[in-house]
Amino acid sequence: MSSDKNMKILIVDDFSTMRRIIKNLLRDLGYNNTAEADDGNTALPMLKKGGFDFLITDWNMPGMDGLTLLKNVRAEEDLKDLPVLMVTAESKREQIIEAAQAGVNGYIVKPFTAATLKEKIDKIFERIGSAG
């Protein structure tokens, strides 16, 4: 199964420019159904309301950071299977491992390319498809 182009994606980053870049890249890839939040505290209630198929989040944000958001998502019965892609400047091995243990589905370090974003999204949904 490949990703559904109509799926609803939430983009979480404290920098509006980065949200705009990701949103534009997603649009280039055919994903037009996106929403934005500037940190975990804003994102979590939006996610809880339902309707989102995919979460792309930064790590280091004021308020609730991306890792805490990820842990909250995994702890929520309705959200625990939501695919989460982390796009962050945090590049220490122990942090990548920490994110993996918290249940992230993909990890991209900034600065990144359009090709990397496409590759990771495709990979995430391929794996979800093959897992049934």
């Binding site: 280039d28 590049s91 122990e94 990890y107």
Partner: protein, 250 residues
């Protein structure tokens, strides 16, 4: 405290003696007690001067040996300069990348509109059957070329605009670096404040404790790596992230 307390006791004792002698009308004894009181006052003064001298000495000593401040001056400030230079580099590169993309896009698009207008006018003449066979062959050749150009330039402009879009990621990265330097500035400020309050040592230690705690926290996020200041455990790019994750079964 104990010297001050015993000083006060002695003052009280002398004051009582003074009162007794005065009430008894013993002028000589009153004079003696007053002399003793003056001597007592002088010793106290000397002790105060000694204490001040010691404090001044300590302050000067700690001014020279305050490790954190000298560390800040020797390492962190130059480090901050490198970080800020990196910010300048990132913003400069982004501006150039954007300008290049825009200039090349403009070049790609130049003449496209006017050529289109000309061809549309010719096409209208053709629809109205005003073109000769030779003119139509010419128009058809020009239209072929125009479509080819449109196809090529369209792709070029799209890729240039994506370049310009991607170049905007500097804002996020530089913002994070600048925030870190601001944190350092705050730390220097705290250091200077504690230097000023050195005559009140309890306050200074309190500040030092919080400063140490901040440096020692290993789970603290590092943000973007700065060239020449990479963390030992940081990965070098996306390939290493992928390798690490696949080693974890991803």
């Amino acid at each position: 405290m104990s010297t001050e307390a015993s000083d006060l006791d002695r003052y009280a004792e002398k004051a009582r003696e003074l009162l007794n002698h005065a009430e008894a009308g013993d002028h000589e004894a009153v004079g003696e007690v007053l002399d003793e009181l003056t001597r007592l006052r002088e010793t106290e003064l000397f002790r105060e001067v000694g204490k001040l001298t010691r404090e001044l000495h300590e302050a000067l000593k700690s001014f020279r040996t305050d490790n954190r401040l000298s560390e800040l001056a020797a390492n962190d400030i130059p480090d901050a300069q490198d970080r800020l230079n990196h910010v300048i580099e990132l913003t400069e590169n982004a501006a150039h990348k954007t300008l290049t993309a825009l200039e090349e896009s403009l070049e790609s698009l130049s003449g496209l509109g006017s050529e289109g207008q000309e061809l549309a006018a010719e096409w209208k003449r053709f629809r109205q059957r005003e073109l000769s066979a030779t003119e139509f062959r010419d128009l058809s050749r020009r239209m072929d070329a125009f479509f080819q150009r449109l196809e090529a330039e369209g792709a070029t402009v799209q890729s240039k605009l994506t370049d310009a879009l991607m170049a905007q990621d500097y804002q996020d990265l530089t913002g994070q670096i600048i925030r870190r330097v601001m944190k350092l500035v705050k730390e220097v400020e705290d250091g200077l404040v504690s230097l000023i309050s050195i005559s009140a040592p309890e306050r200074a230690t309190e500040r030092r404790k919080t400063a140490d705690k901040r440096v020692a926290d290993p789970s603290e996020l590092e943000g973007p790596q700065v060239p020449g200041h990479e963390s030992d455990t940081a990965v070098q790019g996306q390939d290493e992230v992928d390798d690490l994750l696949s080693s974890l079964g991803f």
